[in-house]
Symmetry: none
Subunit: 228 residues, 2 copies
DNA sequence: AAAGCGGGTAAAATTGTGGTGACATTAACA
DNA sequence: TGTTAATGTCACCACAATTTTACCCGCTTT
């Protein structure tokens, strides 16, 4: 390993924390431990670890708060949420807090390590997290954020997915079918109006003047295209 | 089928794999099989199949890892995840690993085939990014755009279709019937004036001086021809 | 229990495209 | 040069595609 990777582990259950920390250390990572939200936050800001493993249920301060707070303070590395119930995350809208990914407890240690390895490789390759700029905006798909002149707007999961697809296919006319396939998958059971609705909502977030869109343009009779 | 479509099938359950592979082959696809994540990865990178069918639960390396790893290595084709539990995918955040779509096991073979067909249809369409140049103009049929010295003009569906047809038959005299057939199909119930009208509108966009067309010329008594 | 959020839908409002008739212009040929 | 048929142009309108408004539902948090 050519660079020491720091991982912050925020978990109040000491047994679990010990287990995870030991395993991660044995994998060659440097582990920073904390069992408390407030403390963790300060530590993370000063230490700037490459990955944060964050428990969802923390005494005092909720994981979501810690996460949102870190993002506020400009922390842009990976945050992996650890949660008890599988369904929680999406329901909770965790991505809106800036969570990059999550793993459900109880988890297999191998899976966790694999996940981290893969994330690390990715973020090292890309140095910075993936990001697309257009006009005075910047889209950070990993954090579901849209930055306009420094001000942040949160995107929902669907908005994020739609925008990302457009950005990957800029200037190309995308028909509704294709877009729906991309967003809802093959078993799309939503009607076309719904897609249009999401376009409207997205426009409100990305367009300087949503009434006359400059980026996300309609192509009458076909679908839309993203121009920049 | 004008092009051989390659599908990589990564599944450790040999019975299932055999069934799927056989069906896909009978549909005319070339199938590359693998029951192991590591091996599959190498194969996919070298073979570059058009679609990867990837089991989520693999011995050794998780499907998610394989997927993420493939994406890192620049593999940008479709990856369809096959998973046991319906809820898993969204919960797991599979899209973050680069999964394009998923199908839940047990699945109906017909559904799988339909899904693949439909996916293929799009990804093949996407490959062609044609462009036709004439004079100081450039026509991008996929974007419905006409670029004249860097300035863009939008084309409507019909304009785009008509222009494309002319460009594919440059210097050839096209009679009205043929053109109407091309644009409105065989049950065209529009009158001839309508076609002329579209020619006029198109000329306004493509001709430097629409009053005396140089590209889209009239062939009195027959129809039109596109000269360049 | 109530409020807030994401996301889906129906229905009304709006808009742009394309079709048409009426008329002008042109080209061909006597 | 006059006649005629073919083509060009204009202004208008219908209609379908799209946008907007307003609402519902399920879920979560307080």
């Amino acid at each position: 390993m050519n660079k020491e990777i720091k991982i912050a582990l925020v978990e109040d259950d000491e047994n679990l924390r010990f287990l995870v920390a030991e395993r991660l250390q044995s994998e060659g990572y440097k582990v920073l431990e904390s069992g408390n939200g407030e403390e963790a936050e300060a530590m993370i800001i000063t230490e700037q670890p490459d990955i944060v493993l964050l428990d969802w249920m923390l005494p005092g301060k909720q994981g979501s708060e810690v996460c949102a707070s870190l993002r506020e303070k400009g922390f842009d590395k990976l945050i992996i949420m650890m949660t008890a119930k599988a369904q929680d995350i999406d329901k909770i809208g965790a991505y809106n807090f800036g969570v990059s990914d999550y793993i459900t407890k109880p988890f297999n240690m191998d899976v966790l390590v694999a996940m981290i390895d893969s994330k690390i490789k990715f973020s090292l390759n890309n140095e910075k997290a993936e990001s697309h700029k257009f006009g005075n905006m910047e889209h950070l798909p990993n954090t579901h954020l849209l930055i306009r002149d420094g001000r942040k707007t949160e995107l929902t999961i669907l908005e994020n997915r739609i925008l990302l697809y457009f950005l990957k296919n800029k200037n190309k006319v995308i028909n509704r079918e294709e877009l729906m396939m991309e967003v809802w998958g093959y078993n799309a059971d939503v009607n076309t109006r719904t897609l249009d609705m999401h376009i409207v909502r997205l426009r409100k977030k990305i367009e300087n003047n949503p009434d006359s869109p400059t980026y996300l343009q309609t192509v009458r009779g076909i679908g839309y295209k993203f121009v920049y």
